[in-house]
């Protein structure tokens, strides 16, 4: 089941997107909308084009064909990037000796969006609020490299939400995080989605992250093989195929 693009309701419209790194197609004619309020999981095996699609949405890569619209504007013309929070895949690969405090890391998200940041007011409140939302406020003055992978992940989410974005995009956010911490992590994302009304787009290669919080699923394997609700996905042929291919399901209790 592949739903058609509905530009009016969608925050992000992905339209016939293709991408080729020069050694074969990575994405073929991918189209689906991301609507306001979605908690969307983009899933698929390694090499299925998930991260490539995210980079195209974020304007880091240009599609070889097709287009992406964000809030009605083509990516190349979109300028309100502070409305999109991004948490990259390789947060565990940051330089652990980098001399940045948690406060400074979160401030990067706020102050770099301003022309003359030295004169910005209220930044401390925004930093503290963002850290409170991810329950990391007591680590304000800790050096980022001294935190665990899970704690660093939370700080990066705080940085991504400090500008009060409409959309939060996370690439493989639970890599290197233990199963127990993952449960708390999805609770936190659920809170951001429900209480703060932030649309969440999550990329993962494990269908194990499927839990009751996620309300939309997009399956990618170069082509879009499924797009619909989580409930429908769990009853779908696509889901059965993925399980048969060796993907495993982890049930998070809430």
């Amino acid at each position: 089941m592949v739903s058609p693009v509905n530009e009016k309701e969608s925050l992000i419209a992905i339209e016939d997107v293709c991408y080729d790194y020069g050694h074969g197609s990575v994405l073929k004619q991918v189209s689906f909308p991301i609507n306001s309020g979605d908690f969307l999981a983009i899933i698929g095996p390694n090499g299925s084009g998930k991260t490539t699609l995210l980079k195209i949405i974020l304007g880091l890569l240009k599609p070889t064909e097709g287009k992406v619209r964000i809030m009605g504007k083509l990516v190349g013309e979109f300028s309100e990037w502070q409305k999109i929070g991004y948490v990259p895949q390789k947060v565990t690969h940051i330089d652990s000796f980098f001399p940045a405090s948690v406060r400074e890391v979160v401030a990067m998200g706020i102050l770099s969006a301003q022309r003359f940041p030295r004169f910005a007011k209220g930044e401390d409140d925004s930093i503290l609020k963002a850290l409170q939302q991810v329950e990391m406020e007591k680590y304000l003055n800790r050096r980022i490299g001294s935190l665990s992978a899970g704690q660093q992940q939370r700080v990066f989410i705080a940085r991504a939400i400090a500008n009060q974005p409409k959309i939060l995009i996370l690439d493989e956010p639970t890599t290197g995080v233990d199963a127990r911490t993952q449960g708390h992590f999805y609770d936190m994302l659920h809170h951001l989605n429900q209480k703060e009304k932030i649309t969440i787009v999550l990329v993962t290669h494990e269908i194990g992250i499927m839990n009751r919080h996620i309300n939309q699923v997009a399956c990618l394997n170069q082509k879009l093989t499924y797009h619909g609700t989580h409930e429908e996905f769990c009853r779908s042929e696509e889901f059965r195929k993925m399980l048969a291919d060796g993907h495993h399901l982890i049930s998070h209790r809430h």
């Binding site: 880091l60 502070q82 999109i84 998200g109 770099s112 030295r118």
Partner: protein, 267 residues
Amino acid sequence: MEAFFAYGFLQRALLAGVFIAIACALLGVFLILRRDAMIGHGLAHVTFAGVALGLFLNYMPLVMAMAIAVGASLIIMKLKNMAGLHGDTAIAIFSSVGFALGVILVTLSQSFNVDLFSYLFGEILAIEPSEVWFSIILAGVVLSLVVVNYHKFMYMTFDRESAKASGIKVNRLDTLLTILTAVTIVLGMKVVGILLVSALVVIPAAAGLQIASNFRQAMLLSTAVSTISVVLGLLFAFILDLPASGSIVLLSFLFFGLIFGFKRITR
């Protein structure tokens, strides 16, 4: 000590030296964290070609050095991005080519003289009033641009992909940082000379990064080490009749060693 501050040439050296030291220290922190510390060394060698060209043409070696260093820094950046060269390869190539070109030009112009040696080993105590103003204005421009872009530079140094995704024009800022580095290297050449200028960029920043627990602290500590090294270096050079360039660099290394030792003891 009173005599130290009574001489006009010392006052000028102090004034220009402190401004240039601050610019070197601030940029040094970014360069080390971007794993670009060797660019200072490479650009210093390229600067030699610029100075040699100026001496060869008998036309403002400092300005020629500035033009050549900025041009070369941009080509190095492009080569790194486009030619797929590993690590410091582009810097190593330009460093050698710059020095080779300089040697040929100096030989052709037969200018192995006091002028050339003052560029190679620094001549801060012989700095002219016009050069002081030139240095202060340019160092002031470098400092202002670093302060205005401080958070953007920090963000793209820490997490380049996220910085790009947040709408920061990373490539444009790369170019700016590269030009600022080239300008600062040429200014630093007046203080400690072509052969030691990369030390003024790298050592104070490396010292600050040893114990800083946040980025702001790293900037402040690096600036303190750099400024104190220049002031005390000039003082020792005056009192002990030593070359200022060598005194400044050795003092900054001494501070690096002390901070390193302090870190090992207190850990």
